[in-house]
Amino acid sequence: MVTRPAQPDAQGQKTQIHGVDALTVVPRRNYAIWIGTVVVLVLAALILKAFASNPAFAWGTAWGYMFHPSILRGLGNTLLLTVLIMSAATLIGTAVAIMRVSPSPILRTFAGVYVWFFRGVPSLIQLIFWFNLSLLVREVSLNLPVFGEVFSVRTNDFMTPFFSAVVALALCEAGYMAEIIRAGIKSVPSGQAEAARALGMPYRKILRQIILPQAMRFVVPPTGNEAINLLKMTSLVTFIAVDDLFYSAQSIYARTFETIPLLIVVAVWYLAVVSIMSVGQFYIERYFGRSDSGHEPEALLSIVSRGLFLGRKKERDNV
């Protein structure tokens, strides 16, 4: 039965049709989703059961190591490495990206070669290369014609494993960040810079205040990806004996042979950090997208809870 909408009568007043406001929507039944849900739940139960009942996983042992001092120290180093490398990579990457869009062909070429090289060579090889720099360059010194030798240090004295890890991975990561930031800069309509130029703003300010802030909306999501990738990539430093999370776990299970429980500890810690980073990314994205939407931003919790209930909303206008 179809109810015709209320027609305005001659006086322009709506005639009331009984019961219009009492209509309710019955959601469409989607059997494929139901079947899929059942299959997933059964699989999840089976997997959980396998994990929980298999004694090899030794959950008790894993829990015992969760806050072990050397694990926590390793976790601290992993976080410190990630933060240092990501900050340095963002700074270098921004500089390289700005060179890549500059009017000077020499700067553009330099930046292009940088990205080509540091993205192209495997990060593990770069890491071991920097660690072994002292083989190549025994000492770094600065000699000025008049003043003579200003300073001189032996490479081995400052190329500690930790420092070479930061340098190697930051240079490598900067290659990826440069491309992300360049894409962000390119995504800002050219009219924005033109209007700023017409207002008399110098290039430096146009870049900092007009272009980069707008590029951020496009830069943040892939940067979150990069940061998470980097967090896990820092486990490569195990190769040059930096005691990060993974290295600490390794050195424990090398003695005790409790390999699986310690890998669980490591995995749980990585998952925990990644979860926190994802929440941070959510808020940063919302901050830089604030000029986009006309309404108040939705809170994280309400988005999560909506996701849990398969995104179904009761109101009709959101169907």
């Binding site: 209007a195 207002l199 000029s291």
Partner: protein, 268 residues
């Protein structure tokens, strides 16, 4: 009058009340000759309207006036000064960036696509250049901005982002943003051609108010009726040259050149 201005005036014969003085302006992009020797005089306080078919070089000419494009040949003086150069003897020395910016800041420009800074609120758009370029105090800049918003009838939109405004409102904010720099002259590049027909009127209204307040304006437009009503002179450009110029009423009623006649018959 400054020393440089007097020297320029004597040397090139710039009239006393000249705001824009363009002689034999040429511009090429690679092999493409876009402006082929254009002359223009815009006295202070007057409105010049430029019309012409697409690709005739109107935008390029306008962009040359505030040195967004460098000239290939000829000169443009704004209020008696070169915008991008200092003339010493027979040499034009390119200005350093901060000097160029200072001169450019005195020439306002409005665009077809408004180009409001999309990550800033209306108020932030208005105070950005005064604070960053002129070093105006933030509080004072805000006060002046509020007055300008009232002038274009948008006092209630201070906190809105550009995306939340209609096209007509955005263009009026853009006008207020340009005025915030207290420019000597305003350049308009088809300010209404991206607007829905019912929004054109509000922007033309704001421009009419400006013209009546004595602002010098150069307007590239397709609104012939507006040019006839507001313009002190009308310029018809075609293929990089000025084909005809004169009093807007006379020119629109009785165009002398067949190309002008043909163009007007198409747009009217």
């Amino acid at each position: 009058m400054s020393e440089a201005r007097k020297m320029n005036a004597d040397r090139f014969g710039v009239p006393a009340e000249s705001m824009i003085f363009a002689r034999n302006v040429r511009k090429t992009f690679g092999a493409l000759e876009v402006l082929k020797g254009v002359d223009l005089d815009v006295p202070k306080g007057s409105v010049a309207c430029i019309i012409g078919p697409s690709g005739s070089g109107k935008s390029t000419f306008l962009r040359c006036m505030n040195h967004l494009e460098k000239l290939t040949g000829g000169i443009i003086l704004v209020d008696g000064d070169f915008v991008g150069y200092d003339l010493v003897g027979d040499k034009l020395y390119e200005l350093r960036e901060n000097q160029l910016c200072r001169r450019r800041a005195e020439i306002g420009m409005l665009f077809q696509s408004f180009n409001l800074f999309s990550h800033m609120t209306v108020m932030e758009n208005l105070i950005q250049a005064p604070v960053q370029v002129r070093g105006t105090h933030v509080e004072q800049a805000k006060e002046e901005a509020a007055a300008l918003l009232a002038r274009v009838g948008l006092s209630d939109k201070e906190a809105a982002y550009p995306r939340q405004l209609s096209g007509g409102q955005q263009q009026r904010v853009a006008i207020a943003r340009a005025l915030a720099m207290k420019p000597k002259v305003l350049l308009f590049d088809e300010p209404t051609s991206a607007l829905d027909p019912e929004l054109v009127g509000e922007v033309l209204g704001a421009m009419r108010d400006l013209a009546e307040s004595g602002m010098t304006m150069v307007v590239v437009t397709h609104e012939i009726a507006f040019a006839r009503e507001i313009g002190d002179q009308l310029v018809f450009m075609d293929q990089g040259q000025i084909v005809e110029r004169g009093n807007p009423r006379e020119m629109i009623n009785d165009p002398q050149s067949p190309r002008t006649r043909e163009f007007l018959s198409r747009v009217l």
